[in-house]
Amino acid sequence: MIIAVPLKQVPDLVEDLTLDASGTGLDYESLKLKLNEFDDHALEEALLLKESVPGTVVVALAVSGSEAERMLFTALAKGADRAVKLTGVDANADNRLLAQAFAAAIAQTGGELVLAGVQSAGDRDGQLGPLLAARLGAPVVSVVTHVTLSGSAVTFRKEYAGGLMAEFEAQAPVVLGIQAARQAPRYAAVSKVRQVQQTAKLETLSVTAAPAPGGKVVALAPPARGQGAKMLGKATELLAVLKDKGVV
């Protein structure tokens, strides 16, 4: 079975987010971008399936952008079989657009099972997995863990709130929005990635996508904070609060 894993670059939320001149979008030029962490979990789950089921092929895909090569070579270094760079669309576009791009690519690369990260930081117009599934004409199940394969049958768990879960079985093709892999995503050493970069080649696919109705962003700003927290300067002040609240 071919497992397709779309990888998305997103702003690193540890950094300050700066807006562009319009004030309604991010200034991607100045932002530190990184792989969406849920996509890393999706890739890990795909690699674990590859290791447990002979004949499984993992194809990583990313839209050409500042992080695409790093994400794709890292995926190869971790054990992905193929890495495909998509050109023709903006890597920082909304998900409605990215979903079309990934769907067009997966139609060519194959991917009976698509493992996408359950969500990403800027999903204003919906999460990628469900939008991609709609484009592929495949069913989608989100917030998924514990994926197993048996022939074309895919078994997995969907997490609800409070630890409640449901087990489902699907016949591929199906798109799953991965919440977490069974183990923490593996690490690829920089030296290994560099080595792969020198020896492996990325495949390139040209894709097109038409703007989808997503509404128009009219404002983007840090949320109004209300009164906010009373800021403390020292651990002694924190201790005083704990004492005041009867903790110590």
Binding site: R124, E167, V174
Partner: protein
């Protein structure tokens, strides 16, 4: 046109809070539009439709007791196609995620996710959404409709939406699906070694803890304070603590007297699980971390420095 359709969500035999919150919000929007508030109930258990009294009308589609992505998705799409509501409201939840994107995509409607507020202004719907881990808020103009929104927990008062009433029940046929997805079973939450929902004091750790070995530092502080150790999602997903310790949307909702958050940025999904705590104290090295917006006390500092100093003082 002018109608608002709310997708009723039920889990494990009960309608969820977000359903009633959406009914409350939907009722006020339908009022402004001069339309009807309708709920769509797919499957579920006896008596559920009668609990949707805030709605004027309930479309009832026969189905299983449990959520099924394909069956619920097909029923929702058929209802929207047949009745053309101006606004479709779906919960920003694990089930809602399976429904909203495919619906919007199939019918080519605008979709706004993670909505915390909705308002009609000058003939178009404006959706406020929390994005980028709660660091930014976007207002999207969705036009005059029809459109689809995913509502975050807290969008309106569930109490307001929990009204008695006698909505007109209108049965709709269950559309056929290809049956490629099969529901197997519900898995109840695992038995926890510690019940974090029953503790007066919680020390909660997030991504800022950095590595598994360093959890010990927070555990020692928790022990000293007579508190239990809880965590945000990344710690659970990394496998560093069991699921029973997770606070947030996909974890547990907690209301301790004191919640000490160490290295937790405060993504909306986490806030949903702990905003009801009596006193929230947050320690984070990022002064812009959204957690400081909900905390009562905050400290911009390295959590390890704070833990060490507190241990010395205690």
């Amino acid at each position: 046109m002018g109608d608002v359709l709310v997708m009723a969500e039920h889990l494990d035999g009960a309608l969820t809070e977000i359903t009633f919150e959406m009914l409350a919000q939907g009722k006020s929007l339908a009022g402004q539009l001069g339309g009807k508030l309708t709920a769509l109930l797919v499957g579920g258990t006896d008596g559920m439709a009668a609990q949707l009294g805030a709605a004027e009308r309930v479309y009832v589609v026969p189905g299983d007791a449990n959520f099924h992505p394909q069956a619920h998705g097909a029923a929702l799409r058929a209802a929207v196609q047949a009745h053309s509501p101006q606004l479709v409201m779906i919960g920003s939840t694990a089930t809602g995620m399976d429904l909203a994107g495919p619906l919007a995509s199939a019918l080519n409607l605008p979709l706004a996710a993670y909505c915390t507020a909705l308002a009609w202004e000058n003939g178009s719907l404006r959706a406020t959404a929390q994005l980028f881990g709660g660091k930014l808020e976007a207002i999207t103009d969705l036009g005059a409709g029809p459109c689809v929104v995913m509502a975050m927990s807290g969008i309106a008062s569930a109490e307001e939406g929990r009204q008695a009433g006698k909505p007109a029940l209108e049965p709709l046929a269950a559309p056929a699906t290809d049956g490629k997805v099969t529901f197997k079973r519900l898995i109840q939450p695992e038995q926890a070694d510690v019940d974090i929902t029953a503790k007066d004091v919680l020390v909660a750790i997030g991504r800022g803890i950095g590595k598994k070995e360093d959890i010990e530092v927070a555990q020692e502080l928790a022990d000293k304070l007579g508190a239990a150790l809880a965590a945000s999602r990344p710690i659970i997903d990394a496998g560093w603590l069991p699921k029973s310790r997770q606070v947030g949307k996909s974890g547990l909702k907690v209301k301790p007297k004191v919640y000490l958050a160490l290295g937790i940025s405060g993504a909306p999904e986490h806030i949903e699980g702990m905003k009801g705590a009596g006193t929230i104290i947050a320690v984070n090295s990022d002064q812009h971390a959204p957690i400081f917006a909900v905390a009562h006390y905050g400290m911009v500092a390295d959590l390890f420095d704070v833990c060490e100093e507190l241990m010395e003082l205690l």
